[in-house]
């Protein structure tokens, strides 16, 4: 299974690709609980471990809340720790996600993005990631199975960097990426091992010689400063991500920077989007460019920390920026749209916002075309909401 999967592409789903990255990273501990559509990740990895291809202690916990809890205990004991979840699982562990960030536990988590209930739905949207948008964790979004693999390989280096020491989520669209087979080029095992290195833990709860109290109770006199310190670490993750992506590109030839600018040269209008729909938008950009339209795409890989400065630089003089959110904030601004509008505050560029794809509703190229050409309702493709010209 292992020796032949190197340097030429093999057909893998996003879930399998991430499992391979985990096999190669050989984490110390993986505490995990099943939920669709993340299950192929843990099932594939469990089989790999059972066949001796990873020397990992897998802890089959009794809920996702316990998965993230165990992950904190493990990471603070100096063990490289990876887990995975989706949707309701992420919702259930949300409390602990915030705490993992505040305790500066460098847990890496694969997220198979799936819609939050209700109604219960197992298909893709980004509402689960958005639920923990404010938790202080790094959130990286993959466009396809290759990016999911690459970002997972990079993730421990970002999470465990001393300036960061935060959870890093590697997000891939549920089913669209987790379950769809694509050509994926894996790095050689030794290359991944060398790239990831060892977890540079500088403290451990197993070190009784240097006892530390972790997880304090803070009154109003200190809570704000403790949170401010945590925010500084999240902001520092941007430069660390850039550095790690430069190193990764030297190794693989692939660039996984915090964002990807696609045909933004002399663009008049650009779409901003997360995840697999970037691929759809790229196709439409190509078609419209061939028709003489000046359109482009800014794909965000690092949703948190948000690359506001780069966005201003790339989009600040466009005629229009259009944000496609695969999540909603009913009664307010959709999350990605809000970040883009906030980043462009003070610029003359108008920002238009749409919500698409909730609960796995496909985004068709025709709809993206309509978005670029200015005739699309706020909620794309919802029966009952048609664009009134």
């Amino acid at each position: 299974m292992t020796a032949t999967l190197q340097e030429h592409p093999v057909l893998l789903t996003g879930g399998e690709a991430v499992a391979h990255a985990m096999r190669q990273l050989d984490p110390d501990v993986v505490p995990v609980y099943p939920i669709t559509p993340q299950t192929p990740i843990i099932q594939t990895f469990s089989k790999m471990a059972a066949d001796g291809e990873a020397n990992t202690v897998i802890v089959n916990v009794e809920s996702e809340h316990s998965a993230m809890s165990a992950a904190i205990g493990s990471a603070l004991a100096g063990a490289r720790t990876i887990t995975a979840t989706s949707s309701q699982g992420l919702a259930l562990m949300a409390e602990v996600v915030y705490i993992a960030a505040s305790m500066r536990a460098p847990v890496v988590m694969a997220v198979g993005n799936r819609a939050l209930s209700g109604p219960i739905n197992i298909h893709c949207d980004h509402s689960d990631s958005m639920l923990v948008r404010d938790s202080g964790v790094v959130q990286l979004f993959a466009e396809n199975a290759q990016e999911a693999y690459d970002l997972m390989v990079m993730a421990p280096r970002i999470a465990e960097h001393p300036d960061v020491s935060l959870p890093v989520f590697v997000c891939q669209d549920g089913f669209t990426i987790t379950h769809a087979a694509e050509p994926v080029t894996l790095l050689p095992d030794e290359a991944v091992r060398a790239f990831a290195g060892a977890y540079p833990a500088d403290r451990s709860v197993l070190d009784a010689g240097h006892p530390l109290t972790h997880g304090p109770f803070a009154m109003p006199d200190y809570y704000f400063e403790l949170r401010r310190q945590q925010t500084a670490a999240l902001l520092a993750a941007h430069d660390v991500h850039v550095d790690v992506s430069v190193e990764f590109e030297r190794l693989s030839g692939r660039c996984l920077a915090p964002y990807e600018a696609y045909r933004l040269d002399a663009a008049e209008r650009a779409i901003v989007v997360l995840g697999s729909s970037a691929g759809t938008v790229k196709d439409v950009v190509d078609a419209l460019r061939a028709d003489g339209e000046h359109v482009g795409l800014l794909k965000i890989r690092s949703f948190r920390p948000f690359p506001a400065e780069a966005l201003r630089h790339l989009l600040g003089d466009l005629h229009e920026v259009i944000v496609l959110d695969r999540a909603d904030s009913p009664g307010g601004a959709p999350p990605l749209g809000a970040d883009v509008a906030f980043a462009l505050h003070g610029y003359a560029t108008p920002v238009r916002s749409h919500v698409y794809g909730l609960g796995g509703r496909d985004l068709h190229p025709e709809a993206v075309r309509d978005v670029f050409l200015g005739c699309a309702p706020h909620y794309l493709g919802v029966r009952g909401d048609e664009c009134l010209v």
């Binding site: 505040s102 305790m103 500066r104 020491s165 403290r203 240097h210 006892p211 530390l212 109290t213 972790h214 997880g215 304090p216 803070a218 006199d221 200190y222 704000f224 400063e225 403790l226 401010r228 310190q229 945590q230 500084a232 670490a233």
Partner: protein
């Protein structure tokens, strides 16, 4: 009370190393006097030591050497459990 620190002076994750901090004193919680040890009656049974919620019974090896009034809250458990009546509550010194 120590001066409050800036955010960039805090340890990562808000961890606290016990060696780095002095505990606040809790002796001012007492309201009914302070427990005082009569060494003549003390038989070093160590019952007061295990009962004290505030770790305020001071030992020299396994021998009682005093009561730490900086932390004693005056619960009187030591008075109650001492089998020889070697501990008694005595009025605090006048301010």
């Amino acid at each position: 009370m120590a001066e409050l620190k800036r955010w960039d002076q805090l340890s990562r994750g808000g961890t606290v190393a016990p060696a780095d901090v002095a505990q606040p004193t809790t002796g001012d919680w007492r309201t009914s006097g302070k427990p005082t040890l009569d060494y003549g009656r003390c038989v070093n049974c160590l019952l007061c030591w295990i009962y004290c919620p505030d770790s305020a019974i001071v030992l020299d090896g396994t021998t009682l050497s005093g009561i730490d009034h900086d932390y004693c809250k005056g619960c009187e458990l030591c008075v109650e459990v001492c089998p020889t009546g070697a501990i008694a509550m005595v009025a605090e010194e006048a301010l």
